[in-house]
Symmetry: C2
Subunit: 151 residues, 2 copies
Amino acid sequence: MTETPEQLRQLLKQKGLKVTTQRIAILTALADRPGEHFTAEEIYDCVKAGHPELGLATVYRTIQLFSDLGLVDRLNLDDGYVRYEISRESTKVHGHHHHHLICLECGQVSAFQDDLLEALEARIREQLGFEVLDHEVKLYGRCAACKRKTE
Amino acid sequence: MTETPEQLRQLLKQKGLKVTTQRIAILTALADRPGEHFTAEEIYDCVKAGHPELGLATVYRTIQLFSDLGLVDRLNLDDGYVRYEISRESTKVHGHHHHHLICLECGQVSAFQDDLLEALEARIREQLGFEVLDHEVKLYGRCAACKRKTE
DNA sequence: TTGGGTGCAAAGGCTTTGCATGTGA
DNA sequence: TCACATGCAAAGCCTTTGCACCCAA
């Protein structure tokens, strides 16, 4: 989706919420770097450069709001921080998240798009009667760059 | 795997660690209910019933130890608690975790075994050169029981 | 005996909340 | 104007750590 400030304005107004500089700034910061995953602190530092009055609590509240609106996706790597990334077009269209590839050596996080999970979900529905609505897939391993270094 | 106290004794001795009543009690509590996912607090309450002197810090330290030894698996449902379950035989044999099905209505967590992800992992290796070593799959939706209630 | 293990309490660290002030609409 | 949003600081909450005591080996 890669939201633009204008789309955010529409969405907020439509919900009776206010368009503030902080909200625009935070969304813009995330939208400028799609595919990257930021902690609240990183967003804070990043946005604070241009808006020194920003408070960390506002970042948390705004991210929460964006998450509820479906503008950002959360990612938990179990390192004590929750990370956020701008939601992607594909997410909105298919209602499916992409998969995250996490390199155990360099920590790099990348994404991979694949519909293979739909077959798995169909199987689960048939065998267990469990209706899958959403999924989160994290694959841990070694990225191509790290493999190259070792070899 | 469903560890027995005897197997734990062997494993600890072999690592030069001590066999304590607390460690045995915690492992037994988890092994008694395979497939269930407990928070540290739940383990604490559960074991404390039979061992009133138990401290919560010991639960955290023991769980950490068991996790390092591969005796328990962690599960993070992003609700603020990390959960633990006794490691399963299948995990040890194939080196692959099972998938977790999480019902958004009743919160029930169940497991599903499937090798479909291997095809996905093969594809990722071919296309991206990323070597997958481990994965975590969480599927959110509605369980059969909750679906039945609604219909 | 003795070094790892435990219990208790305090400290950590990320996130949320309360409250007075600020600001879009 | 006025309800929502923000900033700051304090509080929450799960988890970890420090330290003296304890106990398995």
